[in-house]
Amino acid sequence: MATTTEDAGPPGPAGGDPMRPAPFRVARRVVETHDVFTLWLEPVGGPGGFSSQPGQFDMLYAFGAGEVPVSLSGPPGPVKQVVHTIRAVGPVTQSLQRLKRGDVVGLRGPFGSAWPVSLAEGSDVVLVAGGIGLAPLRPALYHVLSQRERYGRIVLLYGARTPRDILFAREIETWRGRFDADVEVVVDRAAPGWHGLVGVVTTLVPRAHFDPHNAVAFVCGPELMMTFTVRALAHHGVVPARTWVSLERNMKCAVGFCGHCQLGPTFICRDGPVYRWDRVAPLLGVREL
C-alpha cells in the first residue's frame, strides 16, 4: 500500500505519520506590525531538509495550545530556515506571538497547492494582496524576481487597512526601488501624515502597467477582497482562467482526513489553498457553502 505520493515526497518533515509534528526552533522573530509577526524556524537536531513551493502552508503547533494552518512567507525551494508570517487573532496564534528566540514549536508540512509560477513564465505577473494576504504571495514574488528573465512585467498591488498595518514595509521600498517591478500600496483609511494612496486595492488594477491579455494574476486576501479584485481584473481584460486565488477554511488535519475544510467537492487542504478562479467561483457564489 502506498503511504505517500511519489512526486510530493514524504508528507512533511515528520515522515510517515502526517499528524505528528516535528520540533522546530525559533531562530529569529520579527515584529511586523501591532498584530503581525514573522518567525524563522529551524529543525531541531540539525538540518532536516525543508522545501516548499510558493503558496503552500504548514500546520504550526504551539505547545499545549493547539495548531493552526499558516502559509509559508519565505523563499520557496530548499531552505535552512522556514519562514512564517502570522497574524495574532486567536489563542494559538497569540501563543505563537509570545514565543522567543530559542523556543520550540511543532511543524507539519508543507501542504497544499502552489501558485503556478511555471505556467506564468512568459507572461506579465500581477500579484494582488490584501492585508495578511501579502504573506502567502511573497514566496511567489521571491520566485519571479529570482527568475526575472523568465517573466514579463511584474506588478505587486497591495492593499492594507491603515498605514500601520503595512507588512514588510522596508522590503516593499526595496521592491519599489527596482526598475523591473512595479509596486503600488494603498490603504483603506489613513490618518493625517500619510502621503500614499487611499482607497481599495481594486482601484489599483486599472492604473497598473501590464498587458491584461498576456498576464497571469495571483490574488490573496479576504474572500470578498478577492472576489472584487477578480472582477476588477476581468473588467480590465485578465480572464478568470488566468487568475488564481488562495482560499481559507477551517482546517484541523491538512491531509484530507478531518473534513473541516470542504468547499463543495474540494478539500482546501488537499486541492487548495491555491485554485484557478473559474474553478471555484461557482462554489464561492453559494452562500454558506
Partner: protein
Amino acid sequence: MPETAVETGVECAIEVADLDPLLGALRERGFTVMGPLLRDGAVIYDEVRSSADLPAGWTDRQEPGSYRLQRSDSPRLFDFTVGPSSWKRFLHPPALRLWQAHREDGGFQVVDVEPPPPRLAFLAVRACEIHAIAVQDRVLLGGPHVDPAYRARRAGLFVVAVQCTRAGATCFCASMKTGPRAGAGYDLALTEVLEAGRHWFRVEVGSERGAEVLAAVPHRAVRPGESAAAERALAGVAEQMGRTMETAGLPALLRRSPEHPRWSEVANRCLACGNCTMVCPTCFCTTVEDTGDLAGRTAERVRRWDSCFSAEFSYIHGGSVRPSIRARYRQWLTHKLSTWHDQFGESGCVGCGRCITWCPAGIDLTEEVRALQASKRRKEDRRADA
C-alpha cells in the same frame, strides 16, 4: 464428523454449537472478536466472548426516529438489522490520543501513548457495513496521505459477515447497491438457516485466511438441498426494505440544487444534534483537541469524531462559514450523495438507514431526496408541456 476441503469460494455448513469453536479459533489466532450484544436497549457492537453473548431471540423494529427491541419466539442469533453502533468505532475510534509531547532541553519530544491496537475480528458484519468499511478505506487509506491509526486497526482485520435474512423499515441498501447480499469483502460469511426445526449456518469462504480458520472449526460439506434452504432464507429481503432511493442523476441534481427551498424546510425540523453523523458508518470527520498540563511539562493531542452539524465545525477567524442549519444539513446530504463522488469516486451512503432511525426528529434522507427530485420532475413536466 465429515470434513471437506476448505478453500476460497467454497460453501460449508456449521452447526449453531460450532460458533463457540469459531470464536475460539479466532482468539487462538490472536484476534479480539467484536460482535453484536444487547446493551442499553439496543444491539450494539463490543467484545464477544462466547455465543451466549449474542442477542439470541431478539429482534428490532425501526422507524424514522424510533428503535425498539422485541422479544421473538425464535432461537435465531442474528435476527436483527443494524443498530446505533457501527464498526467504525473500532477502526476509526470516537476518541484517540494521537500523541503526547514532553518538554525537554528547552524543546519537546513527541511520543506515542496509545498501546498498539488489538488484532480485530468482526462477527456479524452486514453487506452494507462491509461497503461502509470500504468507503472509509478510500478516505483514510486511499489518498496521498494515510491515517496510521486507521491503518493499524484495519490491517489484518478478520471479517465474519452475516447475510441479512430480514430487512428493516429504514433499510435501503438495495437502492445503494451495497446489499442485502454480501458478495465480497469478508473472510467468512454466515447465513443463518432455521428451517424444518433445524438451526445451522451456511458458511461461504471469502479468503484463504477464512479457509484456514474454518478448517480449525468443526464443519461439514453442504448437504443436498441445504444450499437451496440457505437461498430461501435470503429470498425477498430486498423487497422487505422499508425505504428506497433513486440514485440515477442524484449527484448532478444535488450539485444544481444548493438554493432549493427544501433545504429551508428540512432545516425547520433538523435539530442539528449530529446524531446522524455519529451513527453513520462512513462519516469520517474529526476534530483535534490540544491540551497541556498546568505545569506546562506535558501536552497531548486527542482526535475526536466531529460533526458538520455543529456551527463550530466551519469556524474560521471571524465566524462560522455555515451559521444556518439549512447550510449544515445541505452540506451533510450533499456531501454524502453528491460531492463524495467527486472526492472518492463513489457514494458516501451505503443505505444502512441508521441516520433515519436515530434522528430524533425522524428526518428521512430518502424522503428529502425524493422531495428534491419531485420538484425537478415538476419543472421538467412544465418544460415538456410548454
